[in-house]
Symmetry: C2
């Protein structure tokens, strides 16, 4: 059983969702439609829709009901990406902003708003208020996570708990509710809804920690941006937290280097090396594995259907992936 | 009957809404709560909640039901203001962006997202799907209006129809649905819901046109920004459209002046004078009055209750206001 096989098995229904996403982001407005469609075509693994579908297998699987969960979840994810881009764009071009760049940013912000609104509109197809509540709760927590990330930037005294809470809000929660809502939409029993929620939560935590590790050890080519970008933007992730916690000297070095507005590439590389040598990468991967194992244990308590194997496969891929 | 009297009559229920707004924007997060509360304290006339309350008088008036309409509508309005600020901030400080300014912008964007999500969450208290649909539709149209405004910036060949459609989406629609939803939440008859929708729409159009006129004729002190700011940002409003349509020479002058990146204050003042001398102000005020009269005619068809007088009073104020 490989990841590709899981996608192959679900291909027909993923295509239905893909089609629905395309139709949904069409607006009575050229720029908005173009921006949204471009975003959609940029792709992604559609991890959240896949979780919705697999969770739905634990109840009365009905693609036409499940797609109305999968589409808003993927749209909320997309909208948060657009809004992150608004920020990233502003940063990379700092001091050199062109009218074009600004136009893009503004359109990007409103495109994100538009997609958020569409996501919530579609979820209204469901009469079950629990579904609306969970969706808008997830969206709010994501916003709080984003603001927390900004607040915690360049804060060298945050602790592991700050980090874990932040990635829960930013990443894990939306994956958790993807699994939960798939089960709810398929009328799966309550205890299965809860199991699937925790499965998604643990997978999401493992996913984000792995992501944060890759930012340290990946090459520029693999990452599409220089290694250490997170730290360079003041985002303190688990490997750096571990290194700072272990050795006050490394903490001092990180603070001095990153707080220096004229920091050069060599200094950054030095900091990254210190973090890598501290054992922060190995530690983080252990924590990621711990979450992954918790996810696996959630699966054990679920009925033995094919979807269970698929969830296992996807979780393994997400937790262990190299890029 | 004066405007202050209308607010006085509704004071108790406006206070309930005000309190609810305060409670609603409290987040389990200091920065978000602070930003939202600050925004709230900045005030505003709470025009949308007032319309909700007055519309509710045409049915079974229940403040606890109506507040759940008034709060999300005011929040959607607030969120759109925050997002507009993100843009404005970026523009005013072009080329001179500070880390502080950037932090504010990012927090502002996510604060707007958070408020949008809260708005939609609260509207879920209603079981009536019509209410959710109208709210998310209004939010989407507002986004489309914003993007249209960006697209149409520095477009000197747009026509009156473009302008009217844009201000409908940007402003008039949210006022229209404030009136409509107040009536729906109070179970007023369908024909009254529709009348109130059109009343709000016409008032909203009059309101925005008046606003656009004030941007030309106000003093810096009255406006809180230099006169002609709209045009300077490439936003083509009715007085400019009229002037360009009437006289190709003025159009040429406007294009040459505004498309020049090194334009100076004197050139701008010259353009503003030409537009004022063209009769564009008087024409725009006539159109605003036309909408206002249409709004009044909608009122005529409503039952003779006190709320009708109040709506008349507010509409008159909005359409005729000097600042």
């Amino acid at each position: 059983m490989k990841l590709a096989d899981v996608y192959y098995k679900l291909q027909k229904d993923i295509n239905i969702i893909e089609k629905e996403l395309e139709v949904t982001v069409q607006a009575d407005h050229v720029t908005l439609s173009e921006a949204s469609t471009q975003l959609l075509k940029a792709g992604g693994k559609r991890i959240r829709p896949v979780f919705v579908l697999l969770a739905g297998k634990f109840g009365d699987y009905d693609i036409h009901s499940l797609k109305n969960i999968a589409v808003p979840l993927e749209l909320i994810h997309m909208a948060s990406l657009v809004h992150d881009d608004v920020i990233d764009d502003a940063e990379t071009r700092r001091g050199k902003r062109t009218v074009k760049a600004q136009w893009d940013n503004r359109v990007a912000m409103y495109t994100g708003d538009y997609i958020f609104a569409r996501a919530l509109e579609i979820s209204l197809y469901f009469e079950n208020p629990k579904i609306h509540q969970i969706l808008s709760y997830a969206m709010m927590e994501m916003c709080i996570g984003e603001v927390e990330q900004i607040r915690d930037q360049y804060n060298w005294n945050q602790n592991f708990r700050n980090y874990l809470r932040r990635i829960k809000r930013k990443t894990a929660l939306l994956i958790a509710v993807s699994c939960e809502l798939g089960a709810i939409a398929a009328n799966a029993p309550l205890h299965i809804q809860k199991r699937l929620y925790y499965f998604g939560y643990f997978v999401g935590m493992s996913f984000q920690i792995t992501d944060d590790v890759l930012d340290f050890i990946g090459t520029q080519k693999q990452l599409g941006k220089p290694a250490g970008s997170d730290l360079l933007q003041g985002n303190v992730t688990l490997p750096a937290l571990y290194a700072m916690d272990k050795d006050p000297e490394i903490k001092r070095l990180i603070m001095e280097t990153l707080d220096d507005p004229y920091v050069d590439k060599l200094d950054i590389r030095n900091v990254l090396d210190e973090i890598k040598n501290s054992g922060g990468i190995e530690y983080s991967l252990q924590i990621s594995d711990m979450y992954l194992n918790k996810a696996f244990r959630c699966l054990e308590e679920l009925p033995d259907i094919d979807a269970k194997k698929y969830l296992y496969e996807i979780a393994s891929y997400i937790g262990k992936r190299k890029f």
